[in-house]
Symmetry: C2
Subunit: 142 residues, 2 copies
DNA sequence: GCCGGTCAGTTACATCCGCAACAATTAAAC
DNA sequence: GTTTAATTGTTGCGGATGTAACTGACCGGC
C-alpha cells in the first residue's frame, strides 16, 4: 500500500485552490492593482456592509497584520474610509467609499462570471455538494 | 441579487485549503522544521522515486525558485542528494537519502492518519467525488 | 482613584516568495 | 565550426508574510 500523493486531500485542495486563486487574481490585480487580501477585505465590506478590521479577521480567518496592511492599502486607493468609534476609541469601523463601491460592483460581476466559468465543468448538484463539503472540511480542520 | 461571499467557490476553496494546510503543517513543521514546499518535494521523491527539480515543478505547478530553495533546504538537512547527470550536465537527479526515506515514511503515516481524521465528516462516496471535482477544477483553472 | 489585565490595531524584524536577470550547458541553424 | 537559441537551475532584489513586541484605550478589582 503505497501513498498516492495526487490523491491526498490536503494536496488536492491546495492545488485546486492555488490554481483557481492565481487564475482569478488576474481580474483584480491587472485592473486595480489589488492583492488577494485586499480583495477579500473589499468583498467583506461590500457584501456585509461596514465592519471592523477585527471582525474581518474573525470571519475570514486572516491574520490581523495582513488585514491591517490591506486596509491601509485600500485606504490609500480611496476605496474605504475608517471611522473611529466614539464609544470605544480603539475600534475603527471600515466602510467603502463611493469609489470603493464602484470597484466592488465591477469585481462582483467578474467574480460571478468567473464562478460560472469554472463551475461549468460540474453539474449544479455537484457544485452545491462541493460547497457543503468544503465548509465541513474547513470546520473539521479548524 | 446580492453576492454571497461565503458561497463563492474560489473563496471557499481557499478557506478550506488554508485551514487544512495550516492544520496539517503542524506535523512536519514541529517534528522536522520543514516548510510546505519542502514537504511537497520530499513527498514527490518519496512517492515517485528520484526525479529532477524541473519535473517536480511541472507535476506540482510550483515555481522553480521555490523548488530550488526547498531542495537546498532538504539537502542541508541531509534528506536528499543531487546527482548531476553524465549525459546532460545541466540536469540534477534528486533522490532521498536513508534519513530522508525514514522521515518520509513517518510523515506518510501521519498524512494517512490526518486524511482519515478530516474525511471522517464525509462519506467514502463523497470523498471520491470531492477528489474528482478538485481535479476538474484545477484543470479548468489552469 | 489606580494598577493589572485585556483588547483593537500597528510596527519591527526576520523570513519567504516571485519576477527578472544570470551562469552553465546543450541543441539548432547555417 | 561558430553563432544563436533553448534549457536547467541559481541568485538578487523588491515586496509580502508571520511572530512577537508595541501603543493606545477600555475594564476589572480593590
Amino acid at each position: 500500500m503505497s501513498f498516492v500523493l495526487p490523491q491526498f486531500l490536503p494536496y488536492l485542495l491546495n492545488q485546486a485552490a492555488e490554481a483557481v486563486s492565481r487564475d482569478f487574481q488576474g481580474y483584480y490585480r491587472d485592473r486595480y492593482g489589488m492583492l488577494r487580501t485586499e480583495w477579500r477585505v473589499l468583498f467583506h465590506l461590500g457584501c456585509y456592509g461596514e465592519m471592523t478590521a477585527g471582525r474581518i479577521c474573525g470571519l475570514a480567518s486572516i491574520h490581523k497584520t495582513k488585514v491591517s496592511r490591506a486596509v491601509r492599502a485600500l485606504e490609500v486607493k480611496r476605496y474605504l474610509r475608517r471611522t473611529t468609534s466614539a464609544q470605544d476609541r480603539r475600534v475603527e469601523t471600515l466602510s467603502l467609499t463611493t469609489s470603493g463601491h464602484r470597484v466592488f460592483r465591477d469585481l462582483q460581476a467578474a467574480a460571478e462570471q468567473y464562478e460560472r466559468d469554472i463551475t461549468s465543468v460540474l453539474s449544479p448538484g455537484e457544485v452545491s455538494s462541493l460547497r457543503a463539503m468544503l465548509v465541513k472540511l474547513e470546520k473539521s480542520a479548524g
